[in-house]
Amino acid sequence: MGVSSVLAAGAVRLSEEANCHLVPWGGGSDCGFPAPSSEIFNFSPYGTLAIAGQEFNFTKPVVLAIIGSIFLIVFFLAVFRKPKLVPGRMQSVGEYGYTFIRDGVAREVIGKEGDKYVPFLFSLFFFVWMLNIWGIIPFAQFPVSSRIAWPAALALVIWPIYMWLGMRHQGPVKYFTNMMFPPGLPKPIYLILAPIELVSNVLIRPVTLTIRLFANMFAGHLLLTIFAVATFYLISPSLVGVLGSAASFVMSVILTGFEAFIQALQAFIFTLLAAVYISTSLHAEH
């Protein structure tokens, strides 16, 4: 559906056409604004692979994630394969990413032992960013992390790591008692605090981690889609139509820039929280 077909509609306003829907999810025949619904997050698979009774649907987000993963591997292997003491341009860029995670996240949050977790945090940050940034890559334009399974899977990776580290560094029971009874509070407070801390650290953390990333990407994509659809929906040979369409177009450009920022920020927050959880497992709170 291009601009030419919209213009071909001639003097008749789009919303007055008999079958005026630009997008297929509008349904009905009232020609109201076809607001994008949650359906835009579901895709029918390009292909399906059945392994041991489990069907693997190669939908758009799955394909984008696979392409992105390959890109990450190829890019960082190319950049870091033979690093020089005096770096070239690409190596400098890669090094900036590495020192950003090492100094800004691992050492900042975890401390001296943080260096051990740099490879994990580095992979996590760039993986999440890659999932997010598909939202503004032309023609792809779908943030993979707006499908809740992706952040959930990453939370499922982080949860056992910090649980295991906590039990290993503080003791299998001490980890939970340290978490439930932070020192220096009046005794009765613990009646309320202890169960809250337990539930918060063990159950809520992975859920909030998942939902924060998912909801940000979901809302961002919905917003972008609304203005992109409105740009086409509102256009008509009238002052209101042109102004409305132009305003919607400008908004979608601004929101694309905003999304670029949010995508990097959410990837950073996701990684930072993973580091915080690892850090609290390594050292009991004082």
């Binding site: 559906m1 895709f43 029918s44 994990f120 996590l124 993986f127 809740i148 499922l156």
Partner: protein
């Protein structure tokens, strides 16, 4: 816009659904990326960054060492210079002392030699004088006796008395001479 059409045919619209296949693929993707980066990419860059930090810190350390070495050398040099100066002064003082000693020695030797020459000359003179006196006395005696014999008309030559008279006479002469010498 094929994806939009695809969306309309999707399975339901529950955005909170967690399809197992998607979670498995997500885990696979993440672990493959993590494994590849952690094994093949990041150790290299970690090593390089560590090496660079080492090179910079090592450079600073080497510069500090060189500076310390230079300071130490300058110190040594100054110390050696002072030592050399001291030694020079000592040598000069020694030479001065030696010179004085040599001059003194030469002077003493010269004085001794002079004294010896003087003594020898004096001894020679004394001997000559004694010899002269003896020969004079003999000749004067002989002459006197001869003269006296000629006056008296007889030989007094072998006379013991004449001999004694001559002896007394000469002794008187000597006494007069020595008193005249003392007077002079």
């Amino acid at each position: 816009m094929s994806w939009v059409i695809a969306a309309s045919e999707g399975e339901g619209a529950n955005v909170l659904a967690l399809p197992l296949y998607e979670i498995i693929i997500a885990l696979l993707c993440f672990f493959i990326v993590f494994g590849a980066l952690a094994k093949f990419a990041l150790p290299n860059i970690k090593k390089t960054l560590d090496e660079r930090a080492d090179a910079i810190e090592g450079g600073i350390k080497r510069a500090e060492e060189a500076q310390a070495e230079a300071a130490r050398l300058a110190d040594d040099y100054r110390q050696q210079l002072a030592q050399a100066r001291e030694e020079g002064a000592a040598i000069r003082a020694q030479a001065q002392a030696d010179r004085t000693a040599i001059i003194e020695e030469a002077r003493t030797e010269a004085a001794a030699a002079a004294a010896m020459v003087t003594a020898r000359a004096e001894a020679q003179l004394t001997a000559d004088r004694a010899q002269t006196i003896a020969s004079l006395r003999h000749e004067v005696g002989t002459l006197a006796v001869t003269l006296a014999g000629k006056v008296v008309g007889e030989s007094l030559t072998d006379d013991a008395r004449a001999q004694a008279t001559v002896e007394r006479f000469i002794s008187d002469l000597e006494t007069q001479a020595s008193s005249a010498e003392a007077g002079a």
